[in-house]
Symmetry: C2
Subunit: 406 residues, 2 copies
C-alpha cells in the first residue's frame, strides 16, 4: 500500500491544498465536493447533469445499496459507476452512520450491528468484514471503514467506547479489505475514519490509532451532527494536525459554503453533503448572496434567475417565478431545476476555491466570498440535524441573521 | 384572417401530409406530436430536454394555468413561452375538457361553466369570452375554442346538445378573440373544435358548423375518451372529410403510436397526449417492439437499454436494471429518465413519419413499424380513460395481446 500515492499535491497555500486524486476511474481535483447519490442517484439529477456541472466523483451509500437494489445486482451490472451510468470515480460510505441512526431497531455488539431494514423490517447484520465485502462488490474507487458513530451530544464515556470500537473495527476492515483486494478488477482504496465526538483527548487518541493503520486516506467523522460551528471548527483544527498531509483528508457530511471555506483553510481535501440536493427539494437555494427560500410568495412574479450572478443552465433560462410555481405544483421539473442550480453552485464554489489556491490567494477569496454571502443561522436541534443527514426531507426552519458570522 | 396562412403544405402522400406551421415563435414541422405541459411544465422534463428530443411546440392548459400560477403572473412574465423558459411555439387547450370532467363540482348553463378549483374549492366561472381573455393573457401561439365535451358514452340527445352549445360558444369565442387580437403583441391563432361523440350525423353537423366559421385551424375533440379503436377510426375518417385541407387538422388527446400512424394516414397534422409522460412515471415505456413495464422484476439485472434500437441520451447511457431500481426507490431521476426516453420515442416516430411522407412511402413505413411493434390491448373503462386524460397518474392495467392489431 505504501507504494501507491492516491493524492498528488499540486499547490499549498497556507494550510489549504490543491491536488488531484488518482483513481482507477479517473482523476478528481481537490478540494472536491462530492454530490451524494445515496441510492445510486444524486436525487433529481442525471449523470450528464453531473458532468455538466463539473462533478468528478459522487457518493453511494452501502446501507441503502445493500438493501436496494442489492449488492448482487450492482456487481452483475459491473459495479456502481457502470450501474448508475456515471462511469467516473465513486465513493461509498460504509453505512455506519445510517445503521447507528436506526436506534430503535439496531443491536450493537462488538461483533457488529444487527438492524432491521427500513423497507420491510427484515433483519440484517453488518460486521466490519461484511461491510468490506459489500463495498468491494459495489466496487467504488474509495470505500470507508465501518465505524461507530455516537449520537450528539454524547457523554465522554460513551464517546470513548465509540473510539475504541472504531479502532478495533478499523483493523478488521483493513484485514478483510486486504484479503479481498486481490480479487478486485481495479484498485479500491479504503479510508479510515476518526471519531471522538467533541472531546479533544478522544480525537487525538482516535486520530493516532487510525493514522497508525496507514490507510491511503483519512476521514473525520462525527462532526456537523448538531454541535455549534465553533465546536466543529475547534475539533477540525485539533484533529487535522494528526492527519498526514501527503494523504487525502475527508471531512464527512460537511456542509454549508462557509463550512467548506473554513475546512479548506485547515487543509481538508474532500467533502460530501446532502445540503444542495435536499434544500433544493424543500424550496431553498444557495446564491452568491446567501440562501433564498424560493418558494416564498415574494418571488411569485420575480423574473430574475435564482442567482443573478450565476451562469448555470438554470439561471440562464428560468426565472424565480417559474421555479416557485413548479415547487407549489409539486412538479418534478421544479425539483430538477432547483437541484441543478444548487449542485452547480457547490461545484462552482469548489472550482473557485481550487483556482484561488492555485494562485495562492485563498484567504482573499474566502473573505471576498463571505463579504457578499449572508449566512443564515440554523436554529435546529441535534436530533433534527441527525435526521436531516438521514435524508428525511425535512423543511428546515432557517432564521435570518442580520450580522455576518465572519 | 383569410390572408393568414398558418399551414404551409410541403408534401402530400395519399391522404397523409407533411407541412410547416408558421407561428410568431417559430415554425413547427407537421405531422407534430405536442408534449403536454399542463401546468407550464412537461412533467419531469426541462426545456433543454424538449429541445434535445426535437419537440417544436408544447401545450399548456388554460384551466390549470388560470388557477396556478394565475393568468396575471404569466402575463407579467411575458407569456407562456417566456415564463416556462421554452421560448418556442406553444398551444393552450381551452380547459373545456377539464371543467366538464369536474362533474360533481360544475354547473353548466348556456352562459358558461361554474366550477370549483380542485386546489381550494374556490368558485369560478368560465364563459367563452372569459376563456378567450385568459388564453390571450397566457399568450400561446395557438389557442382553442371553449367547447362542451360530453362524457362517453353519451346518448344522442345529450351529444346533440353538446354540438349545438359548442357551435354557439365557438361564435362567441371568435367574436371575443377578434376583439382581443388588436391588443396582442404577436399573432395568436384560434382553432375551432368539432364535437359529436360517436354519431356520424352529429359529427357532420358539428364539422360543417365549425368549418363555416373559418378558423385558421380545426380540431377534432371528444375522441379517445373510451370508445373502441374501430369507433375512433370510423369517426375520424368520417369527420376529417369536412375539414379543409389547406388548414391544420388537430386530433386532440391522441394517442398511442398505432393511433398516430392511423390518423396521419387520414391527413391529421397535430396531436397531443399525456401517454409518453404519464406512462413513464408509472413504470411503462414505449420501445420499437412495443411497450414494456420496466418496473417488472424480470428487468432487475437487465443491462440492456430501455429500447435497444433507440439512440436517445437515456438509452445510450442507462440500463433497464438501473431505471427499474430508481422507479422502485421512487427516485425523481427515474421519472426523468423514463419520461425523456418516452418523449424522445414519440418525437422520433414523428420525425420518421415526416421523412416517410417526404419520400412518399408513408404506407410502407407504417406497415414496417407495426410489423415490429406489438400492440397491447388497453382493457380500461371509459371512466378510467377520462380519468387518465385528467392526468391522474393511474397505473394502467395493460394486458398483452398476442395478435398484431394491424
Amino acid at each position: 500500500m505504501a507504494n501507491h500515492r492516491l493524492l498528488e499535491l499540486l499547490t499549498i497555500d497556507g494550510s489549504a491544498r490543491r491536488g488531484s486524486l488518482h483513481t482507477a476511474h479517473g482523476a478528481v481535483q481537490t478540494p472536491a465536493f462530492m454530490p451524494v447519490g445515496t441510492s445510486a442517484s444524486v436525487k433529481a439529477l442525471r449523470s450528464d447533469d453531473l458532468d455538466a456541472i463539473g462533478a468528478e466523483i459522487i457518493l453511494g451509500n452501502t446501507y441503502h445499496l445493500y438493501l436496494r437494489p442489492g449488492t448482487e445486482v450492482i456487481k452483475q451490472c459491473g459495479g456502481l459507476a457502470k450501474f448508475n451510468g456515471w462511469n467516473k470515480p465513486t465513493l461509498t460510505d460504509s453505512g455506519g452512520f445510517q445503521v447507528f441512526s436506526l436506534r430503535d431497531i439496531s443491536r450493537i455488539t462488538d461483533d457488529g450491528v444487527e438492524f432491521q431494514s427500513h423497507h420491510d423490517g427484515s433483519r440484517h447484520l453488518f460486521t466490519p468484514e461484511k461491510v468490506m465485502q459489500i463495498q468491494h462488490d459495489i466496487g467504488a474507487n474509495i470505500i470507508m471503514a465501518f465505524d461507530q458513530c455516537v449520537p450528539f451530544p454524547a457523554a465522554h464515556d460513551l464517546a470513548e467506547v465509540g473510539v475504541h470500537r472504531t479502532f478495533r473495527w478499523a483493523k478488521r476492515c483493513l484485514d478483510e479489505h486486504t484479503r479481498l483486494a486481490g480479487a478486485d478488477n481495479y484498485r479500491i482504496d479504503l479510508f479510515g475514519i476518526v471519531q471522538g465526538s467533541i472531546y479533544k483527548d478522544l480525537r487525538s487518541q482516535s486520530a493516532e490509532q487510525i493514522v497508525g493503520l496507514d490507510f491511503p486516506g483519512n476521514a473525520i467523522g462525527g462532526l456537523s451532527v448538531g454541535e455549534s460551528k465553533a465546536e466543529m471548527e475547534d475539533m477540525l483544527a485539533h484533529t487535522i494536525q494528526f492527519l498526514p498531509g501527503d494523504k487525502p483528508r475527508y471531512l464527512m457530511g460537511v456542509g454549508y459554503p462557509e463550512d467548506l471555506l473554513m475546512a479548506v483553510s485547515y487543509g481538508v481535501d474532500m467533502f460530501d453533503c446532502v445540503l444542495p440536493t435536499r434544500n433544493a427539494r424543500t424550496g431553498n437555494v444557495f446564491t452568491s448572496e446567501g440562501q433564498i427560500v424560493y418558494r416564498n410568495a415574494e418571488y411569485a412574479a420575480d423574473e430574475r434567475p435564482l442567482d443573478p450572478n450565476c451562469d448555470c443552465m438554470v439561471c440562464r433560462r428560468y426565472s424565480r417565478a417559474y421555479i416557485r410555481h413548479l415547487y407549489n405544483q409539486r412538479e418534478i421539473t421544479g425539483m430538477v431545476l432547483a437541484t441543478y442550480h444548487n449542485s452547480y453552485f457547490f461545484q462552482h464554489l469548489m472550482r473557485n476555491i481550487r483556482q484561488a489556491i492555485a494562485e495562492k490567494r485563498f484567504d482573499a477569496f474566502r473573505r471576498a466570498f463571505l463579504s457578499r454571502y449572508v449566512i443564515y443561522e440554523r436554529a435546529i436541534s441535534p436530533a433534527e440535524s441527525m435526521a436531516n443527514k438521514l435524508n428525511q426531507h425535512n423543511h428546515r426552519k432557517n432564521r435570518h441573521r442580520p450580522e455576518n458570522e465572519f
